[in-house]
Symmetry: C2
Subunit: 207 residues, 2 copies
């Protein structure tokens, strides 16, 4: 009977988390939906509606306890889980991901990187071993990583996704320029789409 959370609300959670984390860092202990709304440039109504998808975190006449809310959203986002991750594709994007997540977010531990290039296999990035993509399926069956970051060329993406799915991956972070249709959660970062959107806005300033 739990009301299903609209996707659009779920996608706003990381942003709330970011702002609340900043407030925690600043030592702010309570905040009203009103003042948070001014910081975040959204309506106070939206904040209250969004949060109430998950529970009554506030208190009438007082507002929200910053740290409690921060923790609660972190929990909802699943950031208390420890996710073991692999990166497939050791090109520029794969390397960026390998280094990036390592120091940027806790809870996501990269265990291995896969590539097809003989020059890279056997090496390492940021202390993480680069293995042969041919071993990917076997590796997944043995180690059951939770998340795969896919940083491979367009043409290789579809087959890779199938391999990952079949071997028990739980979620895919997709940097390939393809829309994947999978049975597990897929989150895509479409960098080229993003750049085109910027180009569009620059070319059509009035619209």
């Amino acid at each position: 009977m739990t009301k299903t959370v609209p996707d659009v609300v779920a996608r706003r959670l990381p942003r709330y988390y970011r702002y609340l984390g900043e407030l925690v860092g600043q030592g702010v202990s309570r905040i009203s939906s009103r003042s948070l709304s001014e910081k975040m440039k959204v309506t106070a109504s939206q904040i209250r509606q969004d949060l109430n998808c998950f529970g009554g975190f506030g208190q009438q006449g007082y507002g929200y306890n910053v740290y409690e809310l921060y923790s609660a959203i972190g929990e909802i986002l699943g950031l208390n889980n420890r996710y073991r991750m692999i990166v497939v594709g050791a090109g520029n994007v794969g390397r960026a991901v390998a280094n990036y997540t390592g120091f940027r977010l806790r809870g996501f531990v990269i265990e291995a990187i896969f590539d097809i290039s003989p020059e890279l296999i056997g090496g390492s990035i940021n202390g993480i071993p680069i293995l042969d993509s041919a071993e990917l399926g076997a590796y997944c069956r043995e180690h059951s990583p939770h998340i795969a970051a896919m940083a491979v060329p367009r043409g290789a993406a579809e087959e890779l996704a199938r391999t990952l799915e079949e071997n028990g991956i739980k979620g895919i972070w997709n940097f390939s320029h393809v829309d994947l249709d999978c049975s597990v959660p897929v989150e895509t970062v479409h960098m080229s789409d993003s750049l085109m959107t910027l180009s569009y806005r620059m070319a059509n300033p009035n619209k």
Copy 2:
């Protein structure tokens, strides 16, 4: 009097462009909103509505000419323009961008990379010189690059955006974990938000 194009529609254009590009590559010359909708998993209504924000590209009883539509959307997206670009921050993300866009999309030419690290300044990535961030303002005034890709740490982002704005940048492609408030178009790639969204979906499969 041109009806303003909803942001949600503008953001779908790169995806249309992607699918149409694929069809062009496959030698398909015409397509109906119906069959495109099946490929893209959206409704035919939405496709027709979206396209009609920009003009009547189709023909009753026939459908759309794939190549014409592809070109038209490319034009709308501003991809016929040549954008000169700089990358600020030569860390992992900056490096990925420097290499990535170069071969992935035409029309975006990276002219220079900026960093504060003395070990990097004077070097180059992918043939593109790495310059001292201290020279950024002067460089912008002299060369007037169109787009800046910001790949700097959170704390440096706000000030950097001001510098870029003041020195005439036309658009910002933002990889920093901050929401920027600028007078020029800003397009943000929130990688960490994206990973949290994936985490959320994995942690809340039912919702």
